[in-house]
Each structure stands twice: as C-alpha cells, then as structure tokens.
C-alpha cells in the first residue's frame, strides 16, 4: 500500500508492507514470506534467475528504464576478477521520494533483492550507496543488514548454500551527481563524484576497475516477488513495453501527495483526480512534470490523455524518468519554478565538462534576469540556443537534463515569460 495514503486501484507488490513497522524486523519479514524467494533462487542456477528477470520485462526504475535482465547478462561469466553489485540509493532527483520509503519500511526486501541479484551475476560484494541525508532510513537499513548477518543470510555461506555474498552500507555526503551510475562508482572509490566516459561500460570496467552492475533500489526491491512468482506473473500488469508496477511519487498541488504503487500505463488524469483526490481547492491544473525535474513539462491538455508508461509519456512529449509526478496548479509561477530547477543543476554540476559547467550557470543567470523583470525577448532564443548546445556534448546526462524543462516551458508557457519581459507581470504569489 502506498504511503501515507493508499488507494484501491493500487497493486502493492513492493509497497505491500509500507506503514507496517513489524515488517522491518527479521522475524516480521520472514512471517510475511520474506527470504523465500532467496531460497528459491539459490536452488536455481544463476542463469535461470537472470532468465526469470528477463522474462518479467522489468526495466530499471532509476530513470533510464533499461531492461534489468539484459543489464545483468552483460556481466562476464568468468570469475577471475571480483564482481560488484552497487545499489543506487542516492535518491536526489527533485520530485522523487520512493527509495527512502523502501529503505525505512522494507529494508529486508531490498537486502533480499540485492542478494538474489548478486547471486545471479556472480557478485560477491554488494555496496548499497545511500544518500547522506537519509541518516534515519540508512540506520534502519544498517540494522536490518546486521540482523541478516547474524542470521546467516549474508556472509561466507548464504543460507547454507556455500555462496559468499557480503553487503556493505555506504553513506554519501551530499551530491546529486553521485546518483549517476559512474559518478556513484567514483564516489564509492573515495573520489569526487565525477562521472566517467562510457565505454568502457561498468559491466567491463566498473567500481575498483572490476565488472560492476548498478541498479536502483526500486529495481532490486522488485526482484524477490518476481523470482517468487515468475516472470509471466509480473507481466499481468503494465503494458507490453513497460511491464509490471511502479511506485509513483506524487508531489505538488494535489490533496493527497505520496507514493502510490500502480501498474505502468495508468492514466495520469486518474492518478491526479482519483488516486490523489484531485487538485488542492479544486484549482485548475496548469502543468505536470511526469518524471522528475529532468524531463519536459506537460501542459494540462497534454496531461489529459497521458498514459504513465515509458512509451506513453514519450508519446505525450516527455519522459517517465523515475515516475516523479510534480503537479502544478494555475497559481504556479512557471518561470520561477524553472529558474529554481536551473539553479539546482548549476549547483549540482560537477564541473568536469564545459557545456554543463558554463551552460547551467548561464541558463540560471538568464532565467533570474527574466524573473527580475530585466529580461528581453532575445533571452528566450538565447536560452533555447544554449540548452541545445548542452545536449549530447558532455560525459553524463546532467547537462542534457536542463534542456527539457527550460525548452518545454518556453514553448508551452511563452506567454508567461513574455508577460514578465514586457510588463513585469508575474503569475501567482511567488
């Protein structure tokens, strides 16, 4: 069930035990069927586990939506070098708040998913990279890991199978870029969290120069139910291209913000008006960001018929990302919000690549100028031109992420920019 609210249309697979403090404990988790999937996986060959995940069609839940089973199969079979699995719990995309709920409510689900995944790809060590700010959730996970060690679930002989799998919980120190997979590897190695050029891909040369796979918390949390019930079972929800369920993080101007686990392909309109009980004070919808701050804004009309699957949101003109739905009503000052997002990217740019370091700073400066009523109409063209040059020109996609919100807002809410530029008129109270 979602937290802090649930809805009858939800399909609680990952979130089944959210809000249930008993599920945190090892005994409580076992009483809820915990670690059965791990036992089942250990009785199978690692290749068969990968096949189940492939059959389920599970796609990476960190934003890119890459098929998980396929990603795992890139890991070399040869065990000459140590293999690593990194769990990305560095949740920091504005609008996203699902991983913390997994960490604090169902830590053993995540541990179980990590161990199954590690077994499937021959990894002996799993590092769970938690964002530094999550002190409380990280400690809940840490306690669960300690309990799992004491119970023989982790260590040199996982559940008596002879398999050695260690899990280490790592706490970051505040950097959005460490959520990028190669940035995360750099940070884990004790470096600045600077992303690296791919290729070589992490499956060949990853953390500590060894074969590595990086998966999001939600992806790994989906593994135990899939292994327990089979790949076909998972496909009963969602669409052909986006099977299964997804945690939708809804924030902004809705009556019931929160996490809801819904089948992919769920209508955005129903999510807002039914599941989240509608807009605050029934004010009209102005725009929706369907996938966190790095994706294009949808206008109210576009949101009307948008289906929340990976392909459905692309069709509507944006991206699903990590399904962080930010809802904005008519009182929203779009220019202000876009400027705020741009300044976020300027703050979080690691500074390695010139287009990003300079681009994020200039975009922020120009947007602030417009916001202050000192902009010109040429500034809008400049913004589009600058952000165009930030796409595909850098090591990672942080730079690319600035373009969609800026360009889509100029395209869809040009009037607001012009009103500020021409008359200094501002929407909303901000």
């Amino acid at each position: 069930m979602g937290y802090p609210y649930s809805h009858e249309k939800e399909v609680p697979i990952i979130s089944e035990h959210f809000g249930d403090p008993e599920a945190r404990t090892l005994e409580g988790w076992k009483a809820r069927g915990g670690y059965e999937a791990l036992k089942k996986a250990l009785d199978m060959s690692p290749e068969d586990v990968v096949e189940i995940v492939k059959a389920s069609g599970l796609r990476g839940r960190g934003g890119a939506g890459f098929p998980t089973g396929l990603k795992w199969s890139f890991m070399p079979k040869d065990k000459a070098k140590p293999h690593y699995l990194l769990c990305n719990a560095d949740e920091s995309e504005p609008g996203t708040f699902k991983d913390r709920e997994v960490l604090r409510w169902v830590p053993h689900l995540l541990i179980e998913g990590c161990v199954i995944a590690a077994y499937a790809m021959g990894a002996e060590h799993v590092y769970i990279y938690c964002r530094g700010e999550f002190f409380e959730a990280t400690q809940v996970l840490a306690k669960a890991v300690e309990d799992a060690y004491a119970d023989g679930i982790l260590g040199d002989d996982v559940l008596g199978s002879g398999q050695k799998i260690d899990v280490t919980v790592f706490a970051g120190a505040g950097a959005y870029i460490c959520g990028e997979e190669t940035g995360l590897m750099s940070s884990l190695e004790g470096r600045r969290g600077e992303p690296r050029v791919k290729p070589p891909f992490p499956a060949a040369v990853g953390a500590f120069g060894m074969p590595t796979t990086i998966n999001n918390v939600e992806t790994l949390a989906a593994i135990p139910p899939i292994v327990r019930n089979g790949g076909e079972w998972y496909r009963q929800w969602g669409t052909e291209e986006s099977p299964g369920t997804k945690l939708f993080c809804v924030s902004g101007h809705v009556n019931r913000p929160g996490n809801y686990e819904l089948p992919l392909g769920f209508p955005l309109k129903d999510l807002i008006y039914e599941v989240c009980c509608g807009m605050v004070e029934d004010r009209p919808l102005k725009a929706v960001i369907p996938g966190g701050s790095s994706v294009a804004l949808l206008s109210a009309e576009e949101a009307e018929n948008c289906s929340l699957s990976y392909e459905g949101v692309i069709e509507a003109g944006s991206m699903l990302g990590c399904a962080s739905v930010i809802v904005m009503d008519e009182t929203t000052d779009i220019v202000h919000q876009v400027a705020r997002m741009a300044s976020f990217y300027a703050h979080e740019s690691c500074g390695q690549c010139t287009p990003c370091r300079e681009g994020t700073a200039w975009v922020t400066t120009i947007l602030k100028r417009i916001e202050d009523g000192r902009g010109t109409e040429d500034d809008l063209d400049t913004l589009v031109e600058v952000t165009d040059q930030m796409i595909g020109t850098t090591i990672c996609v942080l730079s690319d992420s600035v373009a969609p919100p800026v360009q889509s807002s100029i395209e869809k809410f040009r009037d607001e920019y012009l009103a500020l530029i021409r008359r200094g008129e501002r929407v909303g109270a901000a």
């Binding site: 604090r104 400690q139 809940v140 982790l154 706490a171 190695e189 004790g190 969290g193 997002m341």
Partner: protein, 246 residues
C-alpha cells in the same frame, strides 16, 4: 530539554490514514542505541554525522572511533575508498572538516592532503567551517517550493535571527537552503542536524525553534494528522477507497 518529548506536527511526514507513532515511522526503537565502536563492519559507516555536540579539538581517531574506523577499512579493496566514511566519521567527532582534519585523514589513508581537500570540498554535507549546534537545511526545490518552502526558509531565518549561511551569535543555529531532500510528498521538508522535519509550515517554525533552543512548550500534536488545520492543504475525504485493515 523539554520534559515532554517534542513532536513537531510534521515530525515524520503526513501519516495519512495510518495509525503510527513517531517512533514507529522513524524506526527509532528498531534501530535502538548503536554502539560507538560500531556493530557489524557492514554497517559501520552509517552513523549520523551531523550532531549537536561537537568537539573540534578531538583526536582522529581514538577509542571506540578508532575501532569503528578499522572496521570500515575492512570493507573496501582500497584504502582510498574509505575516504568518505572517514570524513563522515571525522565530522561526527569534530563537527566540521577543517584543513587540519583533511590533513589528518589524508595521513591515515595514505593520500595526499591536496587530494583529500579536492574530495572534501566536492561534497556539500561536509561543513568546511564551524556551524551552529543546529544546522537547519530547508529544501526550496520545486516540490517544496510549490508548497511554500521559500516562506518557511524566511521564517527560520527570522526566528533564529540569522542571515542565510551565517551562524547565530549564540552559536545555536546555522540556516541554509538545501537542494531536494527526497521528501517531496511531505513539503516543506527540513533537515535539522541528522533528522528530517516534514510538512513544516510557517506557523510551526517558532515552535520548532523554541524546541531546539530547549524552551519548547512541550506541544504534542495528535498522532494522526487528518486535521485539516495541520496541513497547508485540506485533505479530501476518501472517495472510492475501501476501509484499510488495521
């Protein structure tokens, strides 16, 4: 310290339709008291490192902290990989990461001082200079911003009598703006030292500040926040929802 445990109405997010106590949501009892020397090495680098008590002159590392540091080292194939955990531990002990602290950590991990400086300055959670006993970080990113985060930030500045990024004269508060804290469903999300205060509204700020100063009114709100007056936005009644199990 107030006698009655303080409960910010937004202590742990909007518990919505769940009947949960603060301890249950935050997992306080589950985590329990963790030993200073660290439990299992797997979790030795997960201790909070933004604390009220700070000792800038404390040695790095001694006693239980030394034990924990050694446990951390066993978990990585290189010494360099222990750099972030070591800096976390150093901040836990000293409260901020001074150039001298960086040098000492460099020595311990056989790295150059310049390298450690490069890494330490990359991460925002390392305080490069002393901060107040309470480091207040208000998220003003989009989701919180839509729900009034800017006003909450200003209220904290006003009630702690500080300027942004500065420390109050009594050294009790440093207030800064934070990037998204991943509590977007519970706006405004504020991190004060090592814990989150969620659903914080302007009206609640004076109470939180008074509590942190140690002269709070012991205000304890109801366990369940269905009361519309607590939230910025009224919560609509359940429409099609079935009764959830208790």
């Amino acid at each position: 310290m107030s006698k009655i445990p303080f409960r910010n109405p937004g202590w742990a997010g909007n518990v919505g339709e769940y009947k949960l106590t603060e301890e249950q949501v935050r997992g306080i009892d589950f985590v329990g008291v963790r030993p200073l020397e660290g439990g299992h090495a797997a979790a030795a680098s997960t201790y909070p490192f933004m604390l009220e008590a700070k000792d800038p002159g404390a040695p790095l590392f001694e006693g239980p902290y030394q034990t924990r540091f050694e446990k951390i080292l066993t978990r990585y194939p290189t010494k360099q990989a222990a750099l972030l955990p070591a800096l976390n531990l150093a901040q836990e002990v000293r409260g901020y990461i001074s150039p001298e602290t960086m040098d000492r950590v460099a020595q311990l991990l056989e790295l150059s001082s310049a390298y450690v400086r490069g890494v330490a300055t990359f991460y925002t959670m390392y305080n490069k200079r002393p901060v107040g006993r309470h480091l207040v970080q208000v998220c003003t990113n989009i989701s919180c911003n839509l729900c009034g985060a800017q006003d909450v930030l200003e209220a904290f500045l006003k009630h702690t009598n500080t300027e942004m990024g500065e420390t109050s004269l009594d050294r009790a508060f440093t207030v800064i703006e934070a990037e998204c804290l991943a509590g977007c469903g519970f706006p405004t999300c504020v991190q004060i030292n090592s814990r989150y205060y969620e659903n914080v509204t302007v009206a609640e700020v004076p109470r939180i500040v008074a509590h942190l100063r140690g002269n709070g009114d012991g205000f304890v709100p109801p366990d369940n926040r269905d009361d519309a007056t607590h939230t910025k936005f009224a919560v609509a009644p359940p429409s099609t929802r079935t009764e959830s199990e208790e």
